[in-house]
């Protein structure tokens, strides 16, 4: 489709001008009249009974307008997928950072001082911190009604794994651990909450799921959903973290009590303690293969840390258990996943959603197998990689698969063959692939899909409404490009409305790499309907049938007669005039041809499209310090079609940087349930000198289900990065990395061992 005018072009983000001039209003920039500043009092203990809680001195402090605790809430047990949350602690605190009380005051200094005036007496009770320990019979229980601290169990068993492994030429068996890492978006979580005279709550917050969040919060606050409005300003990053969190609810309760708007932003320390970091996982894997490198069977056990409350860890462990099964042509798989309560911060979504963890494991195992069989690791992927039009073991219908092309182009760009043959000491190259979903039918029971609305006023201003979320990845611009393309008008005419649940479609949100395909298809459908309406009017004006009208670059004309067109402005003016001034409004939606997976077999096509990728890292290792430098990095991504290549490449570069950070430096250090490094001073994320220039390669097989063929890029950008780097470390040093992040001291020791052997 080389006749695209807007889609496929690297336009700057449509909101970049505001961002570079500092005029964008982020959540933390919002100021409302009469607004108060909130702060949260958090538990310093991992597990304790609240023996005494006295807020009276804080309430009396001048400038303090509200102090709240659990008793100011309806006392409802709730959760996005469970009922183990309360808004603020009731009788017990379950993790360090658990919300105990909060204040709203006239300024931030007063709010912080007031926290010191709240007297809490705790009685510490036995706690458990590691999911493996928590599963032991004598382990203290985080929730009395959850024996064994098991939050969730997941099983899948297809084919005959034992037989397949028995008949394998080689079975690789190993254990891995992926640690708990923090999303480290630059703007902490928080919200501005305001309640009107009728008790209707408005929350301004950076959220990936404005509508799903609203439904959860309605339950939590004992309100009908229509009494809650969520508005999503621009916000400073999320990467999965910004879903439901008590900070929003505490803001709401403060606003209710103070009867004034309240801005409650997490301090960075709050955010480390009570944001929702990645699910740490223990994974055991058995992976079988024939003598010529065809995968036979796979058996995995996953134990994931849930934290003290359930958000989405169970879904993440489930994903870890079975999503990779559709990367290769597996016929026999078995997985057992346990999501386990611990007295630590509730864990949740972070780019990759369990598939990141398991891709690290699987791609490390593949690397080991390739070595054992003396097969080129790239070749091993090509032999087993799923292809276009195939159906995976779990019934996933792969539309267009660019996996093979990703491998071919990445290996070529990275000089894979050349570098592997040139053995340089302490320098290595490694490869890893991934699959992912673009949308996940299994995540929300009710439906999956996207919707859009297009409003064109008499002045020609085209406003696009959607229900997903732009967390900085450029979704607004993607949607604008899609609509501009479909309407045949310049991009500059498009405005993307702020998501406001009072007005926007009920979108499920941006997660599972679904934004482009679901939201994009939704706005595309709306644009198509808007075009039909415009074509009717243009047809009248041009005395032609609406079906014969096309538009390009803002001109509407009869197909074949581009010189006798009429400008868009004329068409819309006529259209609105005909309707008594009413704007042209069109809605549209997209329901993907997907199925809820069978609850037992897990069979079912869950996504309309599946992105793939192949990444190759080159590293240099300092054998005396164990430090690893990533010197080159190539990332080839099957994105179906890049609506905006520059934005897509930006996502790839950012995803790789996060994968690099996870592999080489990021670790939440938790000692006996206390976070030792709850600050950027001691939680390191990659800086400009740590990340090489990532070479992105866009593979565009054009996905039939996607808007203009697009799939998605968000999470695949990171999934293979960790194994690409650790496989390169293995290539350089002979040391297999089984735990993230790389431990420098261990690496030095292991290298020395190999030197002497």
């Amino acid at each position: 489709m080389s006749d695209l005018h807007v889609v496929g072009k690297s336009y700057p983000q449509i909101d970049a001008r505001e961002k570079v001039t500092g005029t964008t209003e982020f959540v933390s920039d919002l100021v409302l009249p009469n607004m108060l500043f909130g702060r949260t009092l958090r538990s310093p203990y991992a597990h304790a009974r609240i023996v005494h809680l006295d807020t009276s001195r804080a309430s009396k402090m001048p400038g303090v307008k509200a102090v709240v605790t659990y008793s100011d809430t309806p006392g409802i047990k709730f959760g996005p997928r469970s009922n183990d949350w309360t808004i603020m602690a009731c009788e017990k605190v379950l993790f360090e950072g658990d919300e105990v009380a909060a204040v709203a005051a006239v300024d931030e200094d007063t709010a912080e001082e007031a926290l010191d005036l709240i007297r809490v007496e705790y009685e510490e009770i036995p706690a458990v911190f590691d999911p493996m320990d928590a599963m032991q019979p004598e382990a203290p229980l985080v929730h009395d009604d959850k024996p064994g601290n098991i939050a969730f169990e997941y099983k899948v068993d297809v084919g005959d794994v034992d037989e397949a492994l028995k008949n394998s030429y080689f079975v690789y068996e190993d254990s891995f651990y992926t640690n708990q890492v923090y999303q480290a978006y630059l703007e902490p979580m928080g919200a501005v909450a305001a309640v009107d005279l009728c008790g209707r709550l408005t929350l301004w917050t950076g959220t990936q799921i404005p509508n799903m969040m609203r439904m959860t919060y309605a339950r939590a606050l004992g309100l009908p959903p229509e009494q809650i409005r969520v508005v999503v300003p621009d916000y400073g990053g999320a990467f999965g973290a910004k879903m439901e969190n008590n900070v929003h609810l505490v803001a709401a309760v403060l606003a209710q009590k103070a009867r004034r708007p309240v801005k409650l932003m997490n301090t960075r320390r709050d955010d480390f303690l009570a944001g929702n970091p990645r699910v740490p996982m223990y994974v055991d894997i058995k992976l079988g293969v024939t003598a010529d490198g065809i995968l036979t069977g796979k058996d995995v056990r996953v134990v994931g840390g849930n934290g003290a409350r359930t958000i989405y860890a169970h879904a993440i462990v489930a994903t870890a258990c079975y999503r990779v099964d559709s990367l290769y042509r597996f016929r026999h798989v078995r997985a057992m996943g346990h999501t386990v309560y611990t007295n630590t911060v509730p864990t949740s979504c972070f780019r990759g959603f369990g598939n990141a963890q398991m891709t690290f494991v699987l791609e490390s195992a593949m690397d080991a197998i390739a070595e054992h069989l003396s097969i080129d690791p790239a070749e091993l992927r090509l032999k087993n990689g799923i292809g276009s039009g195939e159906v995976s073991i779990h019934g996933w219908r792969i539309g267009a698969s660019g996996l093979a092309e990703c491998v071919e182009r990445a290996t070529k760009a990275a000089d894979w063959a050349g570098k592997r043959s040139r053995r340089e000491p302490m320098r290595g190259i490694g490869l890893a692939c991934c699959n992912h979903v673009a949308g996940n039918r299994g995540f929300v029971q009710e439906f999956d899909g996207g919707a859009g609305m297009v409003r064109i006023g008499r002045d020609g201003r085209i406003t696009v409404y959607h229900g997903e979320s732009d967390m900085g990845q450029g979704q607004k611009t993607t949607f604008a490009q899609i609509v501009a393309e479909r309407l045949g008008v310049p991009l500059e005419l498009i405005v993307v409305a702020q998501v406001d649940t009072d007005v926007s479609p009920f979108g499920l949100g941006s997660f599972a790499t679904r934004g482009t395909i679901m939201g994009g298809n939704g706005v595309l459908a709306a644009a198509a309907n808007a075009f039909r309406q415009l074509a009717e009017v243009a047809g009248e004006m041009l005395e032609a049938a609406p079906e014969d009208i096309v538009s390009e670059n803002g001109m509407f004309f009869v197909m074949g007669a581009p010189d006798q067109g009429i400008p868009f402005m004329d068409v819309i003016e006529a259209a609105t005039r005909k309707q008594g001034g009413a704007p042209l409004v069109a809605t549209g939606h997209y329901i993907p041809p997907t199925e809820l997976p069978n609850p037992v077999t897990k069979y079912g096509n869950v996504a309309p499209a599946y992105p793939f990728a192949c990444q190759i890292a080159e590293v240099e290792v300092d054998p005396d310090t164990g430090h690893v430098t990533v010197v080159n990095f190539v990332a080839a991504h099957d994105v179906g079609r890049a609506i905006n290549p520059m934005a897509t490449e930006g996502q790839i570069q950012g995803g790789v940087a996060q994968g690099l950070g996870w592999t080489l430096m990021e670790n939440m250090v938790v000692n006996e349930g206390r976070v030792a490094n709850a600050s950027f001073l001691d939680y390191e994320i990659p800086g400009p000198l740590d990340v090489p220039d990532v070479v992105p390669i866009l593979v565009e097989p054009v996905e039939p289900e996607g808007p203009y063929g697009a799939k998605g890029i968000g999470e695949p950008a990171l999934n293979p990065s960790m194994a690409a780097i650790t496989n390169a470390i293995y290539n350089a040093t002979g040391v297999r990395i089984n735990r993230l992040p790389v431990n420098h001291q261990m690496l030095v020791r292991e290298i020395k061992k190999r030197d002497h052997s």
Binding site: K19, G22, D29, M471, Q473, M646, F680, P688
Partner: protein, 165 residues
């Protein structure tokens, strides 16, 4: 106890009485309402609060307000004029902006850097912005934007007066 604070912000003189325990970031964002400069960590590690103080990039969250008495501060709001500053233009065009939260700080460090080093390499640039964390972009497009601003803008003396800060 409040102390007098007299300083120039984005070319405009300000006279305030402020509590000395407030940071420069507090004064800029809250007292003067310029929210372009961001709070990311409050500990001088992320660089989101970077402003130019007498032409040098500093973390506003670690500067006590009285320290800028008699000095000149430039924030992102003072970077362009009627048109975008070449750095702003380059950030927009080169895809150096995703969520945009680190952007003001990045721009100010970049401006301070290009004022001193008009002909940098990309490596020089990455070293200069090492105190500005970005979690979205992986830094590549940011370095390219700064590089292109250095070489495509001409950097002529005819640039706006504020460029001299």
């Amino acid at each position: 106890m409040k102390v007098p604070l007299s300083f120039v912000l984005n070319g405009e003189e300000h006279f305030l009485m402020i509590r000395p325990n407030r940071t420069l970031l507090d004064v800029i964002r809250v007292d003067l309402g310029l929210t372009g400069t961001k709070l990311g960590c409050g500990q001088g590690k992320c660089g989101a609060c970077t402003v130019l103080l007498n032409g040098e990039p500093v973390n506003a969250c670690l500067i006590l307000a009285p320290q800028v008495n008699g000095k000149e501060v430039l924030t992102v709001e003072g970077l362009g004029g009627d048109a975008l500053h070449p750095l702003q233009k380059a950030f927009v065009e080169k895809g150096a902006v995703q969520c945009g939260y680190c952007t003001p700080g990045m721009l100010m460090t970049a401006k301070g850097f290009l004022n001193k080093h008009p002909h940098p390499t990309k490596e020089d640039i990455r070293a200069a912005i090492a105190g500005n964390l970005c979690r979205c972009t992986g830094y590549k497009n940011i370095a390219e934007a700064i590089h292109s601003a250095a070489y495509e803008s001409g950097n002529s003396p005819a640039d706006s007066e504020r460029d001299d800060v």
